[in-house]
């Protein structure tokens, strides 16, 4: 009696996974082709404004606090060893490689992902997505592609903002509160943080942005009826985005590390 029920549930999950896979695949294909259709540019543009420009303050505040907190936390450890001059290196390397990208992406998932799911979910519930279809327009093209492209293109940019503010926040606390001189802060930062580190953080942004957008759109499109359904979809979208950001981060770190180790011997050539 119990086995078939469990098997049924597993089949259900697999089916939903397959559906999600198809959705992701179609979203990627349609978005790719949208890049070559000038008619979509205004749609992408307006999404970029909503998603990107409006997120700048939140992202900057996040970055600044990360930098400031890192400075306070790391100071004691380094001061114990007499290495407090190197505070800048520690703040910047952790900010640029890990905390900046991940926390910026998490903020985006909260601010943008939630709004995307709620908007598309409401459209689903009030038959507006069916209305788009009924006119022979592909909702993937009209609704998903612009949002996906906007998130994909803007997440890396926002991460750069977060990195920058993390650096400045760290500088502010180190120099004006903890009394380290400004010169070694920047010198040590520059000697430790390589272009590679910054690029890794920014490249992660593409993946985080895309994952968050696709998950949020999928949850919106498959939202259950009613206000309750929309709320549930938003929660699920946020949790799923968060987990996939962290999981992607882990995988990307592993991959980038092996790339780095492969390329390291060639480094002297550049």
């Amino acid at each position: 009696m119990r086995m078939p029920a469990a098997a049924g549930r597993i089949a259900d999950h697999l089916e939903r996974l397959g559906e999600f896979g198809r959705f992701v695949w179609r979203a990627i294909v349609v978005s790719f082709f949208s890049c070559f259709k000038p008619a979509t540019y205004p749609l992408i543009w307006s999404q970029m404004y909503i998603i990107g420009v409006r997120s700048v303050p939140v992202i900057m505040i996040t970055g600044a606090f990360v930098g400031m907190t890192l400075a306070v936390q790391a100071y004691d450890q380094l001061a114990g060893m007499g290495l407090e001059e190197r505070l800048g290196a520690l703040i910047n390397i952790s900010g640029v490689k890990e905390l900046g990208p991940v926390l910026a992406a998490v903020m985006l998932a909260g601010r943008v992902g939630g709004a995307l799911t709620a908007e598309l979910g409401t459209m689903k519930v009030t038959e507006q997505i069916e209305a788009v279809k009924s006119m022979g327009v592909d909702p993937m093209y009209y609704l998903v592609a612009p949002r996906l492209l906007a998130c994909l293109l803007l997440a890396p940019v926002l991460i750069i903002y977060a990195d920058l503010l993390c650096s400045l926040g760290g500088y502010f606390v180190s120099v004006h509160v903890l009394g380290i001189s400004g010169r070694p802060y920047w010198d040590y930062s520059a000697s430790v943080v390589e272009l590679w580190d910054v690029s890794v953080g920014v490249i992660k942004g593409f993946f985080f942005g895309a994952a968050m957008a696709v998950i949020s759109c999928y949850k919106g499109f498959n939202c259950e009826d009613g206000a309750h359904g929309v709320g549930k979809a938003c929660t699920e979208a946020f949790v799923a985005s968060l987990i996939s950001i962290l999981a992607l981060d882990f995988m990307l770190v592993v991959i980038f590390k092996s790339i780095y180790n492969t390329l390291w011997p060639l480094r002297s050539m550049f």
Binding site: M123, T126, E127, Q128, E130, A131, K133, S134, M135, G136, V137, D138, Y142
Partner: protein
């Protein structure tokens, strides 16, 4: 009647512009459509009537592939459409206008934006002026000119319905499906919509499928009336045929009479005095 030709995916075009063959649709255990066979003739207005919740909306959504049958086939112009993918369906749906029961206006766009949405997607509108002109004409048809810049949330239910109708006819499609076009409108407005549907048929030879509860409207616009009841088509014929049909279920429906059993239930409730419950409420 409906005949299968050699291939399962094609039937003769003479059968009708839209053909449903043995269409069954369930939601879980709930069988909403039960082996429906329906062939809709080109250039005519077919009205679907039936009690609330009997599956009229589900039926018409099958015609443009918004829902797919659990079993059975749907054909448009002789070509099977219920097994097409979304891309291919998109090309078919361009031939249709669909008025949603709820209107389904895009609430992030203005009234003008809603009407321009399908037009902009398929045509290059040469100038702003031209666009305004098109919107004006479409809105005048439904008596909504002057509301161009409003958002759907700023309109009444009936006004939304009329804007949605203007949007459905924006592309001058070959087939228009109206899901309750006159619900929520006053009698005079309803008659304007009836006249509009008749005019579209007369002048543009448009095929219409209309779902309605409004029998005045049904008699006026219908070339043919189909009554749906418990998942089956129980009556099918001209307006005069339906009016005089010898079938108690249909007669009760079109005359708006309540059945004896339902009356009995109401009488039972009557004898139950709810005010008794109030005595315990401190006042």
């Amino acid at each position: 009647m409906v005949k299968a030709s050699d291939s399962n995916n094609k039937i003769s075009k003479d059968d009708g512009i839209i053909v449903l063959r043995n269409v069954t649709r369930n939601f879980g255990q709930n069988i909403v459509l039960d082996k429906i066979n329906l062939a809709i003739e080109s250039g005519k207005t077919t009205v679907v009537i039936g009690p609330s919740g009997c599956g009229k909306t589900v039926l018409v959504k099958h015609i443009i592939g918004l829902l797919r049958p659990t079993s059975g086939q749907v054909f448009f112009k002789g070509k099977r459409i219920d097994n097409l993918n979304e891309d291919q369906l998109g090309k078919i749906r361009v031939h249709f206008g669909y008025l949603f029961q709820s209107g389904a206006l895009f609430d992030s766009l203005t009234v003008a934006g809603n009407i321009l949405f399908p037009i902009e997607h398929f045509f290059k509108i040469p100038s702003q002026k031209e666009a305004e002109e098109v919107v004006k004409i479409k809105l005048q048809m439904v008596g909504m000119d002057g509301f161009q810049e409003r958002y759907p949330s700023q309109l009444s239910g009936g006004q939304r319905k009329r804007v949605a109708l203007a949007r459905a006819i924006a592309l001058s499609p070959e087939v228009i499906i109206y899901d309750e076009p006159t619900t929520g409108l006053d009698p005079i407005r309803s008659d304007v919509i009836n006249e509009l549907i008749l005019k579209l048929k007369r002048e543009l030879k448009i095929t219409s499928v209309a779902v309605t509860h409004d029998m005045t409207s049904a008699y006026k616009i219908a070339d043919r009336i189909v009554m749906l009841h418990q998942g089956k088509i129980i009556a099918d014929g001209s307006a005069d045929y339906i009016r005089d049909i010898n079938n108690p279920v249909v007669q009760q429906f079109i005359n708006g009479q309540i059945s004896e059993e339902e009356l009995e239930i109401l009488r039972m409730r009557d004898s139950y005095d709810a005010t008794k419950l109030w005595t315990n409420i401190p006042r």
